[in-house]
Amino acid sequence: MNDPVPGEPDIQPGKGGLLSGLSLIWLVPVVAIGITLAMVWQAYSDRGPQIEIVFDNAEGVVANETVLKYRNVDIGKVEEVHFADDLRKVIVSVRLDKSIAQYADSKAQFWIVRPEVSAQGISGLTTLLGGVFLEASLDEKPGEPQMHFTGLSGRPLISGNEKGIEFVLSAPSGGTIEAGAPIIYKGVSVGLIDRPELSADGKEVTAKAFVRAPYDQLVTTNSRFWGASGVRVDLSTSGLQVDIANLSALIQGGLEFEDMEAGGGQVEKGHVFSVYASRDAASSDTTTVLAGPSVSYAAIFDSSILGLSIGAPIQYQGLTIGTVTGTSGVVSGVGAAAAVEMRVDMRIVPGRLGIDGGDIEAKTASLMKDLVAQGWRVRLAGQGLLGMSLKVDLVKVADAPPEQIVQGPDGTPILPRTKEVSTDLAETARTAMNRLQALPIERIADSVAELLDNLNQVVASNAVREAPGEVVGLVGDLRSVVTSEAVKGAVSGASDSLTSLSQILEQMREGGAVANLISIIDEANGIAQSLDQTATGLPQLTEKLSNLADTAASLPLDKLIDQADAVLASANGLIQSPGVQGLPEQLGATLQELDKAVSNVTGITQRVADSTALTNLLAALDRTDSISRSIDQTSQGLPALVDKINAVASEAQALPLDQLVTSATDLVNSANALVSSDDTARLPAALGSALDQVAAALAELREGGAVNNLNTTLASASSAADAISQAAARLPELANRLDALSQQAQGVLAAYDSRSPFNSQTVTALRDLSVAARAVTSLAQFIERKPNALLIGR
């Protein structure tokens, strides 16, 4: 191998300055490092602060995955979950967004959102899918950023970042305070209660509560809170009332509140309110209104103070001005007069009497002195309806003997007492009873008993007792009559007739028909007097009649009878005539008309009964009494009438009777001739068929029950008439009794003259009753308003 060996090349290194040896390619790493640094810077500058939140339990929290949300917007992410040094807590490190960091101040709260089912509803459902997340509650004002927080165990019911008032509720037991339960004002939920906690000494349960704006204005220092069970049952004079307030309150309770006293001030945050068991307990608690400076007084009673407890109210005209602070015994008198009296110590709050400013003790002493001088005394009074427990009342006693406030052995001023120990209700009741006792009840009772006896006799009479059955029959009959078609058709006619009748009656009344009747009766009286005169002549008349009879006996009667026979035969023939044959139909029609007429009459009767006609009739009947009396007088005139009749008879005797008989004979002969004619001979057969038809018609009537009804109607009417007759027989007796009764009543009424003592007593009694009634009414209203007053006595 012999390779050509080239000559040594002339290699010269490049010449240049310091940078000529550098390639432009160095820009690449410079740019890369620039970009990287920019990225690092950006990441660093965007990074917010890392905060640490301490939880008891970090269930479901995953580092780098669990987010922190505020109003459902991510504001951070958990970067680390680790234990505290002693393993008692879990520390969750969260990288906050830089923009939020300034709000994470001391007021920020953090908790873990987990799915939760409670009485308030179901929340946190999204965490079932996406896992738990942390939630923050931030206020709107940036503050000093904090790095360490203590996490809450759950969503805080009161976040502290909402507008409203936050205060503390204190209750003897936790039964009425339920976490999340609403605070209700007039049935509207205005806030809620936080989780209750037991106080350190275990005596009470406290819970934070929150009332949203603008309702926070409703909470004042005088507000009272009580447990709302959701169901309220009132038993009052107006009946049983069941109110179901609020469904959520029904499920989880809740508290209601109200201002029991006016003039409450604005509540500071953290104000402590007591929770009462019920509205009544809330309204009756006077501890807050009686908190204030007080002045000690005492009273000494000689009666039992059983039922007067420590804390019983001192009332001035119903206003509680203090409480009983103690009871003890004091010895009074010596020897035979030795006794132990009851001393009651009390504290009176002058503020309740309107005394304020400085030196309240002197002002109160002055006021009390004035009051005692005016007759104000203390006494024991029962509380409530039953008066089982006692209170001390300050009452004004009229005509009280003058007394003064004396100083007790210990310097406590002792208020003078009045002896009267009563409960208001008992007193009122007793007064009312006294008034009632004074009423003449026995006399009234006797009169009433007598009246009742009389009525009983009337009612117990057979006539009245039988009446209902007959009335039933009558009604049945009437119903059959009324339901007939004729009646329906007749109503309109009857109506017209009735109007006419009514008009007639009216005219009669206006035209003085009764007066006419009286005048007629007067005339009848005159006639009766004439008759009386006539009656005296009766023996003569008898004799003349005897003569007349003798004369008649001598008349040719045989012939007359023969002629009569002939007449009858003729009549038989006549009846058979066709004219007579048509008679039954006419008779039927006539009966129908009669039926209608009866219906009309029935209708008329009803109308009469309904209309004023009856009263007219009654008036007429009254007149009848006087009429009958007139008749009585009239009957005294009968002998004269008989005399007159006698005279008439004698005159009749003088009449030419013989001629009459011959005329009659002639007539009979003529009739005989008529009857013996051919036409008359056909009459009997026609009459026979007509009678058959009548018989058939009657049979129809019988089948139709008309006859039965008629019969029963008649029987009923008859028995009714009998009953009325019997009743009428009793009427004079009844009238006598009524008369006597009315006399008695008159006497009684005379006794009750307007100026009589009874009347005045009655008036005062009524006035007292009125007052008592008003008192009872107001009591009832009070009880209605506050039924519990029955139990608690206020």
């Binding site: 390779d3 050509p4 060996v5 080239p6 000559g7 090349p9 040896g21 550098l22 390639s23 390619i25 160095w26 690449v28 790493p29 740019v31 890369a32 490092i33 990287t36 990225m39 995955e65 899918l129 996406g130 896992g131």
Partner: protein
């Protein structure tokens, strides 16, 4: 001058070879007479370029490992995984093989590439103790293997294209994907910038100096 253990270089022969078409031209010719490509006897600033690309690759390799490679958004949660984190998760979840492949492709290969380029580049500065044959082999391996280290980027690119299911699941490439891609590209440029002829130049130079008697 020619020795049995020393090859005659084109440069020594006063020639320059075209890297594109292999034509030999006299030294000093700027353009290839056949293919008109630019002729360099040796790459200018070869080592500088190599180091520049190398440093750029190393810089971008940092965020490639720190930032998430893949962001998986499901409607429940958002899951971000870095290269190493994702690989470890794969191994933990049982796919040890896939995890190892990912680690190999995304960690071992780029790292060894950095090391290899750095080794070659440093060896050229201090060529006395190195075997030029070993250096050349290392260079060959680095150049061959460089393109395969993009496997992670490919996975993310494919998944991002495929998994686009709206709210249910979406996969997005993270910053690390771009960074890692840059790293791979920069290291490839770095390897390309290294003129392998320098290996022989420097080693033979060193031999020559060693064989040369020391001057007094």
């Amino acid at each position: 001058m020619a020795r049995s253990d020393q090859a005659l270089t084109a440069r020594a022969a006063g020639l320059v070879g075209c890297r594109h078409c292999g034509t030999v031209a006299p030294l000093g010719t700027e353009l290839c007479p056949r293919c008109k490509g630019r002729l360099h006897s040796r790459f200018p600033h070869s080592l500088q370029r190599t180091w520049a690309w190398w440093i750029a690759g190393l810089i971008t390799y940092v965020p490639a490992n720190l930032y998430p490679m893949m962001i998986m958004d499901t409607f429940v949660t958002s899951y971000k995984s870095t290269i190493v984190g994702g690989a470890i998760e794969l191994i933990h979840s049982g796919d040890a093989f896939v995890g190892l492949v990912v680690i190999l492709a995304s960690v071992v290969i780029p790292t060894s590439k950095f090391l290899a380029i750095a080794y070659v580049a440093l060896a050229l500065r201090n060529p006395r103790k190195v075997n030029p044959h070993l250096l050349h082999k290392v260079y060959e391996v680095v150049e061959f293997i460089g393109r395969w280290s993009m496997i992670d980027v490919f996975v993310v690119a494919i998944l991002s294209a495929l998994v686009h299911l709206g709210a249910v699941a979406t996969i997005l490439p993270g910053i690390a994907a771009i960074s890692f891609g840059s790293t791979v590209i920069f290291t490839m440029f770095s390897a390309l910038s290294l003129d392998p002829r320098l290996i022989w130049d420097t080693t033979e130079e060193a031999k020559r100096e060693r064989s040369r008697p020391r001057r007094a």
